[in-house]
Symmetry: C2
């Protein structure tokens, strides 16, 4: 008999169906057994009545959590059910009766759950988070595909370090060569933007950072659009449109999952255009005022404790000085001043990468943009306008002590038809964590990789 | 003035527009200069008439290939144009006049072009191939997303070798640990299929193979669906549906690109359901008959020479014996017997991975499936049904000399709710090469990585 999926049941009321799945939970009371069956598309209550067939009843009563089974029954409307239906069971085929499933309804430590990640992803909340991830990624791709961008994935193996090798993973490339795992496809995107006008790359990126905070993974996914003839202001428009499309998609398609996660949905519904756009100088002033009023740090400390490691690494609160880069508490304070994500632009040139375009009127500012997510989720977009001048870039490579030879191909982009162009990167895991309202990015990816986590 | 893209021009006939792009080619004749302007969305002829404004005319005449420029002009219908319009130029802003663009209309060697890949992707054919790639990837994702699959990307860093370490890239993981770059997400997909019912992974995979053929890259992209409660026959249905959707999407959306590539489009239009499904035994008989009739090898040798390396590595033609795995000439011969892709199923268990389910009636056959593309493009799908029994898998690990400890998490999937399940992998680059009708997979990815190619 053909399998019906649980998310199709509300269109099959009154019909006989065959469900194939796993036992999520069960309870029995005298003459009834209630099986919570999951099949990956949802969970439905299957009711076994002793009076119908005693052998089916006994079989149902004996089943342990995560037993695999096929249920035959009739779909009935049920107002009390979150999915509007339940199933009146006529027969059960047990594929495997499980009695020692390691993840029980009791509390488990994070390390134990992470060691059992291959099973943990079956549980309601983890399942919900990864479905939100699916929707975020689909929203990202749909946004760029429907706005004239060409997907041009950049290489994972890169020959040279863009900005020092300390956070790069090194790979032995056939014995006589070394390759490094990409940290960003940006330089390559600049080449594809000149070929396609608008391009984007979407893939895993790697950072060998010895930090153990709730915001870091060694392997994470990033989308990076790049647009020829575009300015840093165009990137704020593009990034804002992207975030609005993601939020809308998640609200439309994953409401049930957000509810399972006990997400405060009103916080996402409040995200509206236009996002505030703060000059770095104004952001600095806001931070200084916040400190002077005794607010800075308070808002950060006020949020729920995120994790022990994080608390340990949180820098002491100090008065922010012009020229510095924002730390997590600064980002949290800035974004807490607004109900929506906030852009910061015009960063000090000295703290930005060698490839940034500078403000022609005041070269101490680089035309960089960051987007800070609300609720303490930090920077989710970083980018800006790239330097178009060959001369300037040659000087920058020297000033940043970078090996000129490795960048010859990149300099070619300025030798042969250089144009103003801009782009940014958006981290998927931080965005998913924000959508879900969860604490740690390690739960936003099926199999997280961290400093001390390479398994399963 | 707001930028109009070239692919929007046919809706702007009679209007003044501003185009931003690069000079693809030009010629002049007395009082006219014809500029072929490209902007990534297309190429349009821009006509500069000396009588309009002599200074604009002189500026246009002086422009070299790949100069960056902004063109102001009026859109005019033109029947001779492949895009139906041309532009009557009123003004030109030259951003950079280029005179020594390295890729000229003359012939260049492959190594030279690959060294200049960052520029080569601007040329008409390379640009067309990568746009077909974009459409293939979008078709793949749309197919799975609209058929109830959840995207669950599997890790790039894996702790253990699945099947020997000889073709694995090794990464130094914070000094005291080794990680390997994934060759396939399959084992992890089996975990996500049990969580989501239907799941797929889509990302880069890596193979440290010292082979230098037209079908191999060290870094390539693969999509891998996995379905709980599905059989190997379901996978043939799923794979056929996937290929049909890809072919349809490419034909609908990339006809201009296929024409630029001089692709024989009728070959793609001929792809129809159902694809033939050959038992391995029947495939063997077909190969033996082909050899006896003197046909085998002929068809392979008859196709256009693909590359020197490939010819060197092509194995000598011999009579195929039961129990062997197909080589490239075998695949080519088999697929040449049909106008469409052809499935082969029921391979000898001895030549398949440890995780294959075997035919219950005759365990010398594994429930594997391969899909062979037409026109000599070889295997583009490989997969099948996975062994569901814990006992059997434990014996297989031993028989294949695999470290039991590394697979404990995988065995958990058989301990806790084991179900029949199946999946496959489809290689993106081979599929794109087939769609485009091109010889070598190295042109199907923006920045190919091969044995001797790690740049740019």
């Amino acid at each position: 008999m053909k399998q019906t999926y649980i998310n199709q049941l509300k269109d099959r009321i009154g019909h006989d169906v065959t469900l194939k799945g796993w036992l999520y939970n069960s309870r029995s009371s005298g003459k009834l057994v209630f099986l919570q069956l999951r099949d990956g598309t949802g969970i439905v209550q299957c009711v076994v009545f002793k009076g119908n067939d005693e052998s089916v009843f006994e079989k149902a009563k004996a089943l342990g959590q995560e037993s695999s089974l096929i249920v035959h029954g009739t779909v009935k409307a049920d107002e009390r059910s979150p999915i509007g239906v339940e199933v009146d069971v006529k027969g059960i085929d047990v594929l495997q009766n499980v009695h020692d499933y390691p993840i029980t309804p009791k509390e488990h430590g994070t390390e134990f759950l992470m060691d059992h990640r291959h099973l943990w992803i079956r549980s309601k909340k983890q399942n919900a988070i990864l479905k939100v991830r699916h929707t975020v990624i689909k929203a990202v791709r749909d946004y760029f595909d429907s706005n004239g961008f060409i997907l041009a994935d950049t290489p994972i193996f890169t020959p040279a370090a863009c900005e020092g090798t300390t956070t790069l993973f090194e790979v032995d490339y056939f014995g006589d060569d070394k390759a490094y795992l990409t940290q960003s496809g940006q330089l390559y995107n600049e080449a594809t933007a000149a070929a396609f006008g608008k391009s984007y790359a979407f893939g895993p990126t790697f950072r060998a950072e010895k930090s153990k905070t709730r915001r870091h993974l060694t392997e994470f996914w990033m989308v990076e659009p790049e647009v020829a003839y575009a300015t840093y202001e165009d990137m704020m428009d593009l990034g804002e449109g992207l975030i609005l499309h993601i939020v809308k998609s998640v609200l439309n398609e994953r409401r049930a999952e957000l509810e399972a996660l006990e997400r405060d949905i009103s916080k996402l519904e409040a995200i509206k255009s236009p996002f505030p756009r703060l000059h770095y100088d104004d952001a600095v002033k806001m931070l200084q005022d916040g400190f002077d009023k005794g607010e800075l740090g308070a808002s950060d400390r006020g949020r729920p404790a995120r994790s022990e490691e994080d608390a340990g690494q949180r820098p002491a609160v100090r008065r922010f000085e012009w020229g510095g880069d924002f730390g997590a508490p600064d980002e949290t304070y800035l974004s807490s001043q607004f109900g929506s994500p906030v852009f910061v632009h015009h960063f000090p040139t000295a703290i930005k990468g060698f490839y940034f375009e500078v403000d022609k009127d005041d070269p101490k500012y680089a035309l960089g943009i960051d987007l800070l997510a609300p609720e303490g989720y930090g920077e989710i977009i970083g980018g800006g306008e790239r330097a178009a001048s060959l001369d300037y870039l040659e000087k920058q490579l020297e000033a940043h002590n970078l090996p000129r030879e490795s960048f010859e191909w990149y300099l070619d982009l300025r030798r042969y038809g250089s144009v103003p162009h801009s782009g940014f990167g958006m981290g998927i895991e931080r965005t998913v964590a924000w959508m879900c309202g969860i604490e740690h990015v390690r739960e936003t990816i099926p199999f997280p990789r961290m400093l001390y986590r390479l398994k399963p």
